[in-house]
Amino acid sequence: MTALTLTNVNKSFGNVHVLKDINIEVEEGEFVVFVGPSGCGKSTLLRTIAGLEDVTSGEVCIAGDVVNQTPPSKRGIAMVFQSYALYPHLNVRNNMALALKQAKESKETIEERVAEASRMLSLGDYLNRFPSELSGGQRQRVAIGRAIVRHPKLFLFDEPLSNLDAALRMNTRLEIANLHDQLGATMVYVTHDQTEAMTLADKIVVLRDGRVEQIGSPMELYNNPTNQFVAGFLGSPAMNFLPANLLEDGSPNTLGVRPEDLALDDAGPLEVTTKHVEQLGGDTNVIADCHGHQITVRLFGQHAINAGQHLRLGIADGKSYFFDAQGNRLS
C-alpha cells in the first residue's frame, strides 16, 4: 500500500512559485529522503505534507485518504524539527505525552507509550528534566521520542541533524536508521546533506528549484544520474566536470568523471598540474588544474605527491558521463 501520494502538487507564495508539479509515491515502510540545495523547496514540500502549509493545487494523500483539508494533528503524522522545538515549559515526559493528552488517550496508554519510547531512545534517566537542562543530542532524542509515542502513519524529519556536531550527527544517523528498522514505519526525511541521503534512504528524491530532478535508490542515482545536477549533487568529493573537447576535438558537451574513477596513468588522456594534496590516511585527495579547470582525484591509500607536480590521469572504463549543453545526460 502507498503510505503517501503527492499528485501534481503546486505551491505559490504570492507570485513566487515554490513547488512545481510534484508527483511522488512513497510505499509503506519506505525511507524516503528529499535532498537538494537550500532554497529548492524541500522543507516547504515537507510542510505541505504535514499540513502546516496549504497546497495551491494538487492532492496530498496519506495512507489512501486525501488530506488536503485535514489539520496537521489529524493527519496521522509526526514531525521532528531541526531546532528540536521542544516545549520549554514542560519536562521530557510531558513533552512526549502532550500530543497523546490532546488526542484524549487514556492515562495507561500514555504511560505505556512514553515508557516504550524512552526505552528505545534510552531517555529513562531524563524524564523529569526540562529541555534547558539537556544537551543538543539529548534534546533531539526527546524530539524523536515525541514523534514515536504518537505511532504515526508517517514520520517527517526536517533536517534533524543539522544542529548537531559531526560525531553526534553520525550516531544519531545510525539511531534513526535503527529506529526505521525496528518500527518498520514510513519515514520522509529532508536534508541538504548528500551523505545523510545516501546512507539513510531507500529512495532519494532530488529537488532543484521546486522541481523533482530524479527519483530512485541511492545507487541508481549515483550510477545513473539523468542530468548534470544530480550527478554533481550526489557523491563526495563531487563529480568533476570538464569540457568534453579535452578528449574528443570539437565536442560541445560536458564530460563528468567521479574523483574515484580517475587513476594515475602515464598513458592517460588528461594532463594535470597538482595544486593541493589532502592526505587522509586511507585516501589521498589530489586537487589539480587541468587546462584551467579544477579537478579532484581520489586515490586509495597513501601517495607521495607534491603540489606543482605534473601528472597524467586515466579514466576507468565506462565511467565517463557525458552531458549536453542543457545538462541532460547523453547515453
Binding site: 502546516l52 489529524k74 528540536y84 516545549y87
Partner: protein, 279 residues
C-alpha cells in the same frame, strides 16, 4: 569584568559618569522626600537641608490624609494603571501575534495602521473623545480612563511585541500545531512566555505615563469618587495659595506604588532573559 581587559582609568570614568547621572536623576525625588517631612517655613528657608528635630513635621501627611479621600485616589490610580496595562498587554500581544504569525491580505497595511498611533498623540483627539464618552455615559467612570489609556498604549505595544514575536521559533509553533494544540494554547502557553521580557518592557513604558497623567483624569473623570492620585494632589495647588507640605507629601506617597510595580516587572524582565529559550 575580566581584569585583563579592564583599564582602571576607564573603569573609574565609567562609574563616575553613572554615579553622576544617578545623582542628577534622583535629586528631585530626594528633595521632595526630605521637604515633605519639614515645616512650611523650613521648606522655603532651607530647601536643601535635611529635616532635624526642630524642622521635622508631619503636617503635610496629616493634611493629605485628612483632606479628601486619599486612599480612594490611590485605589483609583491603581485600578486604572493595572487595568490599562492588562488590556494593553493582552490585546497588544494578540494583535502582534496575528500580524507576525498569519499571512493575510493587508497584513502590512494593518501593521502600519496600528503603528500610526505612535506618531499621532492621542491628546489631539481629546474633544472627540470627551464627546464620545459623554454620549456613551462613561464620563466620570474609571472605564473612560482605562479605555483611553489602552488606546494610547496599544500602538507601541503592537509595534514592539510583533518584532519580538517574529523571532519566536517557527518550529515550536509548528510542533504545537502537529500535536493538536489550538492557536490560543500556542499563543498563551508557547509564545507568550518566550516574549516575556518584551512584555515587561512594554509594561514599564506604559505604566509611568499612565500613573502620572493629569490631562485625561481632569477632563474625563474629575468627579470626587473617580479622582486619581495625580488629580487629587492638585487640590493643594491653588491659584493664590499652595499648600506645599501637602503637595510634597502626596507626591512622596505617589512614588511608592509605581516603585512596587516597577520592581515586579523588572524581575520579569531579568527572569525572561535568563530562562532557557528554544535551542
Amino acid at each position: 569584568m575580566n581584569s585583563a581587559r579592564s583599564n582602571p582609568i576607564s573603569t573609574v570614568a565609567m562609574h563616575g559618569v553613572l554615579i553622576l547621572y544617578t545623582l542628577i536623576a534622583l535629586f528631585p525625588v530626594f528633595v521632595i522626600l526630605i521637604n515633605s517631612f519639614k515645616t512650611r517655613k523650613k521648606i522655603f528657608r532651607e530647601p536643601l537641608a535635611l529635616p532635624d528635630a526642630e524642622s521635622f513635621s508631619l503636617v503635610g501627611y496629616q493634611t493629605v490624609l485628612k483632606q479628601g479621600d486619599f486612599f480612594l485616589y490611590f485605589q483609583n490610580s491603581f485600578i486604572v494603571t493595572v487595568g490599562s496595562l492588562t488590556l494593553i498587554l493582552l490585546f497588544g500581544a494578540m494583535a502582534a501575534f496575528a500580524l507576525s504569525e498569519y499571512r493575510f491580505r493587508g497584513n502590512m497595511i494593518m501593521g502600519l495602521y496600528l503603528a500610526l498611533g505612535i506618531m499621532i498623540p492621542i491628546r489631539i483627539g481629546t474633544v472627540a473623545i470627551l464627546d464620545m464618552m459623554v454620549s456613551t455615559g462613561l464620563v466620570n467612570t474609571l472605564w473612560a480612563l482605562i479605555l483611553v489609556y489602552t488606546a494610547q498604549g496599544l500602538p507601541l505595544a503592537v509595534f514592539i511585541l510583533s518584532e519580538f514575536m517574529r523571532q519566536v521559533s517557527d518550529d515550536l509553533k509548528s510542533a504545537g500545531r502537529i500535536d493538536g494544540l489550538s492557536e490560543y494554547t500556542i499563543f498563551f502557553k508557547l509564545v507568550l512566555p518566550l516574549v516575556r521580557p518584551a512584555m515587561a518592557t512594554v509594561a514599564v513604558f506604559n505604566m509611568i505615563p499612565i500613573w502620572n497623567d493629569l490631562w485625561f483624569p481632569l477632563i474625563l473623570a474629575p468627579a470626587e469618587e473617580t479622582k486619581t492620585l495625580t488629580l487629587g494632589s492638585q487640590v493643594f495647588i491653588g491659584q493664590f495659595v499652595t499648600d506645599w507640605n501637602a503637595v510634597l507629601s502626596a507626591l512622596s506617597m505617589a512614588i511608592l506604588p509605581v516603585l512596587v510595580l516597577y520592581v515586579i516587572f523588572s524581575r520579569q524582565l531579568i527572569r525572561g532573559i535568563t530562562s532557557g529559550a528554544v535551542k
